[in-house]
Subunit: 277 residues, 2 copies
Amino acid sequence: MVKKQLIMDKALELFSEQGFEATSVQQITERCGISKGAFYLSFKSKDELILALIDYFMMQITADIDQSVRSCSNEEELLYVFYFTTFRSFSKHSAFAKMFLKEQTQTFNEELISKHDYYDSHINESILYILDQLYGEQIEETKYDLLICIKGFIQIYSALYLRFNLPLDIDSLTKSLVEKTALLAEHSTIPFISGDIIRIIKEPIHEQVTTEHIAALIEQKIDDIENPIEQESLQILKDNLFKTNTSLAITKGLLENIKNNPQCKWISYLIREYYQL
Amino acid sequence: MVKKQLIMDKALELFSEQGFEATSVQQITERCGISKGAFYLSFKSKDELILALIDYFMMQITADIDQSVRSCSNEEELLYVFYFTTFRSFSKHSAFAKMFLKEQTQTFNEELISKHDYYDSHINESILYILDQLYGEQIEETKYDLLICIKGFIQIYSALYLRFNLPLDIDSLTKSLVEKTALLAEHSTIPFISGDIIRIIKEPIHEQVTTEHIAALIEQKIDDIENPIEQESLQILKDNLFKTNTSLAITKGLLENIKNNPQCKWISYLIREYYQL
DNA sequence: TATACTAATGACTAATCGGTCAATTGTCAA
DNA sequence: TTGACAATTGACCGATTAGTCATTAGTATA
């Protein structure tokens, strides 16, 4: 599916420059050097394209953040690692980040909102995990305000950087934000986010990670994977989902096989969560 | 110009629900109960409409914020007054705030960006004024990071509130943000925003307030004003712009005459700045 | 070379867009 | 009541949109 990738690349360029609605399928196909018909061989509709883009990148970004946070052994560095990974991801996928920033407040598509909420809730969990690890009970009251503020920091600094296309000194930005976050965590006492609001924020809880969900995801991705080892690993992982008494060692090994393919990051993230690895 | 107001009202509703691009002129005229031709009697184009909306509301909001900040005598309350006025304004004009949040990241119109920058720079000045008053030299290094963080707080909490249409306890939110801001101002030591970035941020400096600019603005607004006293006051203020040795007392009195008309807030703000009142 | 199959094309449709303008309606002074 | 003028209408325009499909080009097998 090289064609699909080509379309996604060029479309992302255009979306980040002009926005989704302002970009026509014609423009996309022209930049790809293909015909209009060819576009609709790869994607059923223009909407499906943007949803695919969001999935493709958000899976990577979200899994990236989660992984580096969970694998960080040094508590001192937890916040640093989180911010650093986040901005490095945004920096790496800056065209996507730009598009995402443009479209995230748009209401034009119900499915887009729910997708946004889905990944957002995963990121929320990563942040809450960090806060829990670092401060625990100490910030029981202000926890959700901290969550909001951290996301506010990320959003406003990202927007600044993406707006002017500045070269970003991630280390410096991260250090600055770590200090700010720590200050708020350790000294702020007046919460705003009340129990009611928390419930509303949390409402779009991401569905329980089910065997069917993972299996469907593998099914969907498996044909796009070119490396035969990775493909077989995915197949076995999928089959094992429906067996009992599967070897955790084998599972871990299989996960190791696919860990370098960015397309598999999300799946392995979900499987790790599923088996509590 | 009652028709113009009707169109702006209904269009704002639609824009805040669906976004600007997704709303057609047809939809607007249908909701107004007028014909398509009638729309184009009031506005030269759809673009002119959104620019008018932004001017109409941003003038009020920006002037509101500036006025309450500058007229706050108690230094202790400065930050509180700023946040409170800001959120009260957003709350009062929530449909506009919603639309603005949707469209602010859109690139589709050069003029829209420059308008955004124009009002943004005014708000920046209000915030920097507060920071200067409260902390002065003490935050020389971190001043612009504070500016960014304050705007980040406002943005993320507004988005939260507007997204879920929650009833907003402004006082509570404001107290929470005042504490956070004070913490950052008093204790943060690691700046990120460097001199280079400041220059880029400041670049779209709003033009010097000129006599011609104010006169043109009055000219443009004066026919929409229905109250004859307000209309005459504006006329005299405009004429006085081109005279030397005008009485400051008279100017102040005239400003007093128009202070209750929201349409005049921006003009009186500029005139006050012009005469250094 | 002939056949069978897939990949790719671009002219086409139906709908909608922002914007125009000749025709109609409403209003008020003479 | 008439006539002059302003306000309002909605059919219409050209451009553009997302999406379709009969046709063609390319490729692999027999």
